[in-house]
């Protein structure tokens, strides 16, 4: 009997301390293949550090992170070609055309039939007309679609998204969410999504991990979180968690 495949993402007692500040403080979670999980938390909750550690961009102070069975960052080159990410804090080069950017990243990720893949992404993300325009000349919504195309260029099995719809108008944001949901379903890809946007998380995620001050405050399905907190929306749950103090917890 063969061993079961390793989980797409496994985080065990992860700690990341910058000088004296604990950005992430002993969190653990495991994602199942094909799932979309939301990572929620206010500013400074540790979401971006967690995602960067999973991508191998940051080395843990202690604890262990594995992606598709490879320990990060030590064994990252075993799996980086099967992962990708999108973040508003990282940009694709603005002077290159969309096609040039996708060509460069496609080559970096070892994509076969790159021309075909770029053409397909052009159709899927409505970028065909924009392929030969400089990326810097596009609107914010179009640039987000280009970043999304870059993050999907290698058809990743594990996709990490850090606020993928930040600064987008509601229509474009909704369109991006729809595309991400279809991609995860069709590819059976595992998606970890850090976001401040509660409706986005409610719509996309079957599981929500709530972080605060580097720790996991709660971890469940959106429906069970709503029931447990007696709230109608995730935003209300988020506010409950964000405003909860040790004193209020003790009083309860």
């Amino acid at each position: 009997m063969s061993a079961p495949p390793p989980p797409p993402i496994a985080v065990e007692r992860l700690v990341k301390i910058y000088k004296t500040v604990a950005a992430v403080d002993g969190i653990s979670f495991t994602l199942v293949p094909g799932s979309i999980t939301g990572l929620l938390g206010g500013n400074g909750a540790g979401k971006t550090t967690t995602i960067a550690t999973i991508m191998g961009l940051v080395a843990p102070t202690s604890g262990r992170v594995t992606v598709l069975g490879a320990e990060m960052p030590r064994q990252r080159y075993r799996v980086l070609h099967r992962m990708n990410f999108e973040s508003p804090y990282v940009e694709v080069p603005m002077r290159l055309t969309v096609r040039q950017n996708l060509t460069v990243f496609g080559m970096l990720y070892g994509v076969d039939d790159l021309r075909g893949r770029i053409a397909q992404l052009g159709r899927d993300l409505e970028l065909t007309e924009l392929l030969d325009r400089p990326t810097g000349k596009l609107s914010a919504g179009q640039k987000t679609r280009v970043s999304l195309a870059k993050s999907l260029i290698n058809s990743p099995d594990v996709l990490l998204l850090d606020e993928p719809t930040a600064s987008l108008d509601p229509d474009t944001a909704d369109w991006v969410r729809g595309h991400l949901a279809r991609y995860a379903r069709d590819r059976h890809a595992t998606v970890l999504l850090a976001s401040h946007n509660m409706p986005e998380v409610e719509r996309l995620c079957e599981r929500v991990i709530m972080m605060k001050r580097g720790r996991i405050e709660d971890d469940d399905t959106p429906a069970r979180l709503l029931a447990r907190y007696g709230r109608r929306t995730l935003e209300e749950v988020f506010l409950d968690v964000a405003r909860r103090t040790p004193q209020s917890e003790a009083a309860q």
Binding site: A59, R78, Y89, R95, T103, F105, M107, L108, G110, P134
Partner: protein, 273 residues
Amino acid sequence: MISRTEAALAFSPRRVAAMMLRYWYLLRASWPRLLDLVYWPTVQMLTWGFLQYYIATNAGFFARAGGTFIGAVLLWDILFRGQLGFSISFLEEMWSRNIGNLMMSPLRPLEFIAALMVMSVVRLSIGAVPVTLLAIAFFGFNLYALGLALVAFFFNLMLTSWAIGIFVSGLILRNGMGAENFAWSIMFFFMPLTCVYYPVTTLPSWLQPVAWMLPPTYVFEGMRSLLIDKVFRPDLMLEALALNVVLFAAGVLAFLALVRSARRNGSLMQTGE
């Protein structure tokens, strides 16, 4: 047939080519970048060339040492522009906030370094070839007449420029854009010590051993030996090569250590100041 994982683990010429393509697209799309490659080398060469012409017509020694100033300017430019060509390609990633994309891609540090090395030669060629032709036109100084000696000079100077470029890139990755100035100025620290325009014996005796620890010193001494005494000194080139091997290995090891350190302190996430 090798698997995708095996391909990802091996050194990949395709990923090196991807990075070269990225810089070529950038150069091709930006005439100010292209102009910048030629502008300063031309100004430098003309200034020093006319100065040498003036001195040569008024002093016996300099008349005999024809071409040493222009030769030194052109060889210094190989050293300086080689390092700058390496560092600017790297800085393009920082300026465009693309370094995170690269660091989270399968691109390996040694592939990145290889692409930057090739691009430094491409950038240098775009800038230096027209300038060497101008030196023939204005002063009758033909750098290419140095023949095989020029190959030895060029190779040694490029190795030094890469070693320093690699180290500076590591510093910027580790410390952010606050360290950008090193990319522009670090080579000038070596300028007086490597004796670009004068013999090593001009330095105080206590400083001469320091000068001989730097590979370019051997190149500039070798150039003067060739132009003044008409003697090519292979011993100097071999000593420079030996020092360069050590310097290059130290540069690569320092870069890898600085990237590891950047991964620990989270500075790969923050590419600002």
